[in-house]
Subunit: 423 residues, 2 copies
Amino acid sequence: MMERMDLKTEVRKMGKKAKDVSRLLAQLSTDAKNKALLEMGDDLKKNQAFLIEENRKDLTAGEKASLSPAMLDRLRMTPEVIQSMAKGLREIARLPDPVGEIVKMWRRPNGLTVGRMRIPIGVIGIIYESRPNVTADATGLCLKSGNAIILRGGSEAFHSNQAIVHLLQESLSKVGIPGEAVQIFSRIEREAIKEMLQLEEEIDLIIPRGGEELIRFVVAHSKIPVIKHYKGVCHIFIDETADQESALKICLNAKTQRPGVCNAMETLLVHEKIAGNFLPKIAEVLRKEGVELRGCLETRKILSGIKEAKEEDWYEEYLDLILSIRVVKGIEEAMKHIATFGSLHTEAILTSDYQNGQRFLREVNSSCVLINASTRFNDGFELGLGAEMGISTSKLHAFGPMGLEELTTTKFIVYGEGQTREL
Amino acid sequence: MMERMDLKTEVRKMGKKAKDVSRLLAQLSTDAKNKALLEMGDDLKKNQAFLIEENRKDLTAGEKASLSPAMLDRLRMTPEVIQSMAKGLREIARLPDPVGEIVKMWRRPNGLTVGRMRIPIGVIGIIYESRPNVTADATGLCLKSGNAIILRGGSEAFHSNQAIVHLLQESLSKVGIPGEAVQIFSRIEREAIKEMLQLEEEIDLIIPRGGEELIRFVVAHSKIPVIKHYKGVCHIFIDETADQESALKICLNAKTQRPGVCNAMETLLVHEKIAGNFLPKIAEVLRKEGVELRGCLETRKILSGIKEAKEEDWYEEYLDLILSIRVVKGIEEAMKHIATFGSLHTEAILTSDYQNGQRFLREVNSSCVLINASTRFNDGFELGLGAEMGISTSKLHAFGPMGLEELTTTKFIVYGEGQTREL
């Protein structure tokens, strides 16, 4: 009980500190923020040995705890990883400052001039797992957008994250910004997350980044708005008129270029009129890359010997070299399949038919809808946002990749000349 | 237990229906939606006698339950109230359709053309109290923005709300839109709200409109994103250089034109250099309108005999003819007071000093910040949004008045020519 009270007090104190400093961060000049970002990048590089040493503690613990080689790999901080963290911070410094931007301005009949001005959200809480580079990326994005950040990383990266935040805080102090602009939990129990999720008055937004189970836990316990990303069951529909050479390249790219990420293709939908011709070709290309195929009844008539795709396959985010394939009657059935089994993440149509392309773009309401391009482009950098805080598959506030703009909100500003309201 | 299971099933069924119909609503043409809105307005007027009869049942029950005269007044549907509901629907028909708007479009170095297109949010749940006109307003706004709506009105307006929704559903059917576009709870127990708030898969957004207690209940129980409005503790700061004649008019308007609404002034902050001169004048003007004044120590030295404003007064949303007054050293102390006691709703500075005006506008991060105008202008109609779904004082998705645009989100659309991703 005593323990629990201490935790509550400790977490609330972090929230209060973040809220206090957030007012100051909202007013920082672009120059001051950029100077801090460059300093942070330099200091990470200069302290490479320290970071690698602290990271080693996590790796040793991870080996003892028998983490998978893939997990250990994501955890590992090499000189290259540190270089790329520093480069990320420098790139954020180069992006335009969203704070203070006047998004729109108009004049009312009574002479009031009304506008909408971008302002920071305030305090952002990030709950994440594994990769320590998120610590620096998220801090850089929040600083540039004028927000205070509270981090709660995974226990497996405890020492690495503490070390990074320690350096970032020092860099901030050097340029005259309070270190409290970035805080990280030193307590890693789940109870600490629960307490954090109660701080409605102090924290304005929670962004969980991790597995579906973590995200469901956060949504279930949070009084604070959550921007979330459950999964990416991404589809490509090959229309009757698709350019088949191009379709082969796009499907190969979408499935195999990085199968473990959320914007990789999981289900291929093929128009029945070209299935007999196209499926053997795509099967050959994908099998060369080691992709396991699972098909509907029609698919299996054409590609004999492949596994059956069961109903649960259509819902599945494999994140692996596995692809489910379904033959459909046309765009109507393709869109119906996507509406039923999709996760609102990313869908593409490959077609030469103008009407079908436009219709798919208009009617499919996933966070990113593409014509004749790979699903892999649903990414903040690739779409031109300059940076990415994650991808949202919930429709509130942000839908799709979140860049700096999505870390702000707008307030109404009004220039008057003594106006009063009559009705 | 059986009862509880029935409720769960019933509520989930409503959610499923709304989700199904939302796909169709998202694709409706502007013409079809406007036709429905006009039909709805006409049908409400034609069925005035029926509405007044149903409303009478609520009024009778309300009288028996000893509702306050103010409550009964808000509940009452007169021919004028029905006319104005119909007029509201016609006005929504005249507003531009936000769905399908391309907010931005740009080209990437690899030739991809990327844009952001407005789409409906999906299914919106409204939980509200008292005034039956919200039933028609909210339905009109959701329909125009392509969203399905689920309503849960207060028990005191049960018959009125059921009658309105019945008519709205009939109007929809007449023009070929499924009546499920608008649904209303026939069960009014709080348990029904709790069940509704679990429907993460079916409902995309909850907007509670009512007292602070209701809103806290919704936030505490919801797995669905909530856009909320706790209270409006609105400030006016009279700077040393304010035009005092204009300041008297603005303060009178902000405090007394409609004291019971959220954008009325609750606290007046006055620069110490003009307090001796300005306070007696404003006190005279406000006392004539029956406003009770409560002041800080300095204020009470100037306005002898007024009550003391205690610390809790600075936090208070009176919603009544009461005003707390504080003398401050200048803009710095005024902004500090607002940051400490404000509710992020609406704040105004009255000044002739350019720098102070700009600084207040930039540094005060409430949903609406004004120079030389009444706080009463923080309203969707007055700011030019054309209509209003309520005012948000939380920063996510919408901050300030919510119009049709705020009932949409944007998806990324991509026109490609066979592009694949390399890194």
